[in-house]
């Protein structure tokens, strides 16, 4: 499911107005960046609190209920848990700025002397990026195509077919859609592998066949949502006076549709695609777990299951940071595409 996030493209006037009449975009970017830095700090603190201040000593959780008190005490020292909360937060945060995301608490508990999380997170992030980029590359043109195609047939059978199939697809949990895809493409047709394991150190791009089902699953849910939104945008644009004007001027219908209607429907579509990217952050967790794909989502689920608190902390913070950056980029893209918004910024 994709939740509409009203924060994207929110009225920029809500923030303080700039005094100088420099480039309007500059002020906007500066304000958004400042807000993002503040948000990121708040998020980092919340993430830290959630994993450190909730009931239960981290070391105790990692070692397990049956661990010896000596081991708990040793791990407490190694993780620096005997220091006050704010000191720990400070050193964690400064570590993050130096690219040090902390040590895996589970591996430390198992006797490793050093177990930096950063390397693992980096590889997993790269693998996830392959899925995300693959999905978006297919998503954008397909959604625009299907949405426009359905919009110009509004009310006809083809439109209903698109509307209802996207209503059904968009309602499915990722692992349910994945089950159906595996049943069709593996159990029945035997074309594609049911899991997408990647050997450690290998690149997922080396085995494109195993990427197809995960990408199709992510695409299914996001395409359903996006094509519906694009359709609504184009239907709205086709009602406008400039479309009638273009038609009355004798422009070919094809040109009217793609150059006039779709072009004006693009601005709301950018927000839609931004929401789809935001959706991917959640969807990818389930999809990677479903296909056993070694991305950031699988790593997160594994570390949650293993009670590796420091790793969860690192991954959540990294993902939240990327999420915030994407939100800013989405806002910026909307402002760039819709000139009207630029003047409203002042």
């Amino acid at each position: 499911m994709i939740d509409q996030d009203p924060a994207v493209g929110r009225d920029p006037k809500a923030t303080a107005p700039t005094r100088r009449a420099a480039h309007p975009l500059l002020g906007f970017v500066a304000r958004r960046l400042a807000a993002a830095v503040v948000t990121l700090l708040v998020v980092s603190f919340l993430v830290f609190l959630a994993t450190n201040a909730l009931p239960g000593n981290v070391a105790q959780v990692v070692v397990g209920r049956h661990g010896s008190p000596q081991l708990v005490a040793q791990l407490t020292r190694e993780l620096g848990l005997d220091r006050p909360l704010l000191t720990r937060y400070g050193s964690w945060l400064s570590g993050v700025f130096h690219g040090d995301l902390g040590q895996s608490s589970v591996e430390l508990a198992q006797g490793a002397t050093k177990a930096p999380v950063a390397g693992q997170v980096g590889i997993a992030l790269r693998n996830s990026l392959v899925l995300a980029v693959g999905t978006i590359i297919l998503l954008v043109p397909l959604a625009l195509l299907i949405g426009t195609w359905a919009a110009v047939r509004a009310g006809a059978a083809a439109d209903y077919a698109v509307s209802y199939s996207s209503l059904v697809m968009g309602a499915l949990p990722e692992f349910v859609l994945g089950t159906f895809l595996v049943v069709i493409f593996f159990s029945q047709l035997n074309w594609l592998p049911p899991v997408s394991l990647v050997a450690p150190g290998a690149s997922p791009l080396g085995q494109p066949k195993s990427l197809i089902l995960p990408i199709l699953t992510l695409l299914g849910v996001s395409l359903a949502f996006c094509s519906r939104q694009v359709r609504a945008g184009v239907v709205e644009a086709l009602r406008q006076d400039y479309v009638s004007m273009a038609r009355l001027n004798g422009l070919p219908e094809r040109r009217v549709r793609w150059r006039y209607a779709l072009r004006n429907a693009l601005a709301p579509s950018v927000q839609t695609f931004a929401q789809a990217i935001q959706y991917l952050f959640g969807g990818i967790i389930v999809v990677e777990a479903f296909y056993a794909y070694p991305g950031i989502g699988s790593l997160l689920v594994q570390s949650v299951l293993a009670h590796d608190v420091t790793e969860v902390q690192a991954i959540t913070f990294v993902l939240a940071a990327i999420y915030i950056v994407i939100n800013i980029l989405a806002d910026l893209t909307v402002v760039l595409i819709v000139p009207k918004l630029r003047t409203e910024l002042q």
Binding site: M1, I2, D3, Q4, D5, P6, A7, T39, V42, V43, L46, A50, T51, N52, L54, P55, G56, V61, S163, L167, V168, G170, A171, L172, P173, E174, F175, V176, T179, F180, V182, V183, F186, S187, P194, F225, R228, Q229, R231, A232, Q278, F281, G282, I285, V286, A289, F290, L300, V301, S303, V304, L305, H307, V309, V312, T316, L319, A320, Y323, I324
Partner: protein
């Protein structure tokens, strides 16, 4: 919802209930939902086998005693399917009720307040929205462990901000109308105004995306169960069943397909109903 407090003149939106259920989409959605609910709620009483005892070899195909075959531990799939719906419904219905109570409460208070309370509440809501939903849930589970109430808190935390925003916007609109001002002038107290003037008039706005929220709660609950962070074995749960029976998809496909299909029917029927209702209000069907 609290029909008895709705003054006669404001009952008009209720009349639309049958009309959106009369259309093809409404009928389809309602009948699928009734069937799935029936399986989930009556299922535990008619299940032929126990949900924890093996009845045959692991991953066996359908046979006379086990119409849907056996699961990865040799238990009867049909019995586990019949038992596995209650926990899905339990978590999603409970969290949805709490979401509307908490999110709706926050939204109404924020929408009616003309003081700092409004921005303070809404900025808090914004902070929650910074996290991708599933990420927030996993963070909470990692920090506090995975028991039932942590899951409830997690889902409510994830779903409430959206409800709060919608309710706030609707409340803000309604609070500027004459009848609310009249009630305030009569000297009615704020809780009474909320219940008698605001709530009945923001109901259509709330109900319009109820289907999307409901299926969102189901998807979230099912996904957490699928990831192994919800119901713990040997409990039967449709989400968990898909995950635990994946390794035997080669030998008994039904152990995976049937629970997945039931989850699909549940979310799709709820979405069909929600969409039919939104359409009957004259809104564009795709509100989310």
């Amino acid at each position: 919802m609290s029909a008895h407090v709705v003054p006669r003149s404001e009952r008009r939106f209720q009349v639309r209930w049958p009309s959106f259920l009369r259309g093809r989409q409404g009928i389809a959605g309602l009948s699928i939902l009734v069937v799935v609910l029936g399986i989930a709620l009556i299922g535990p009483f008619v299940a032929p086998h126990s949900l924890a005892q093996p009845v045959g070899a692991p991953g066996g195909p359908p046979s006379s005693g086990t119409p849907l075959g056996t699961d990865y531990l040799g238990r009867d799939v049909l019995s586990r399917v019949l038992h596995g719906g209650v926990s899905v419904l339990e978590l999603s219905v409970l969290t949805l009720a709490l979401t509307y109570l908490i999110g709706g409460g926050i939204g109404m208070v924020a929408g009616l307040s003309r003081t700092l309370v409004d921005p303070m509440l809404m900025r808090t809501v914004d902070v929650v929205l910074v996290f991708p939903p599933l990420l927030l849930m996993l963070l909470l589970i990692a920090g506090a462990g995975n028991n039932f109430w942590i899951l409830v808190i997690g889902v409510v935390l994830v779903l409430s901000p959206g409800v709060a925003r919608i309710v706030r916007t609707a409340t803000l609109e309604v609070s500027r109308t004459g009848y609310v001002e009249a009630a305030a002038t009569r000297g009615e107290r704020r809780p009474a105004i909320m219940r008698r003037e605001i709530l009945p008039n923001i109901m259509p706005a709330i109900l319009a995306d109820f289907g999307v929220r409901f299926s969102g709660a189901i998807i979230l609950a099912a996904s957490v169960n699928f990831l192994g962070l919800g119901a713990q074995p040997p409990a039967a749960n449709w989400g968990l069943m898909v995950a635990e029976n994946r390794p035997i998809i080669f030998t008994n496909i039904w152990a995976v397909v049937v629970p997945a299909a039931l989850l699909a029917l549940l979310t799709v029927s709820v979405n069909l109903l929600g969409d039919a209702y939104a359409r009957s209000l004259g809104r564009s069907g795709s509100s989310a």
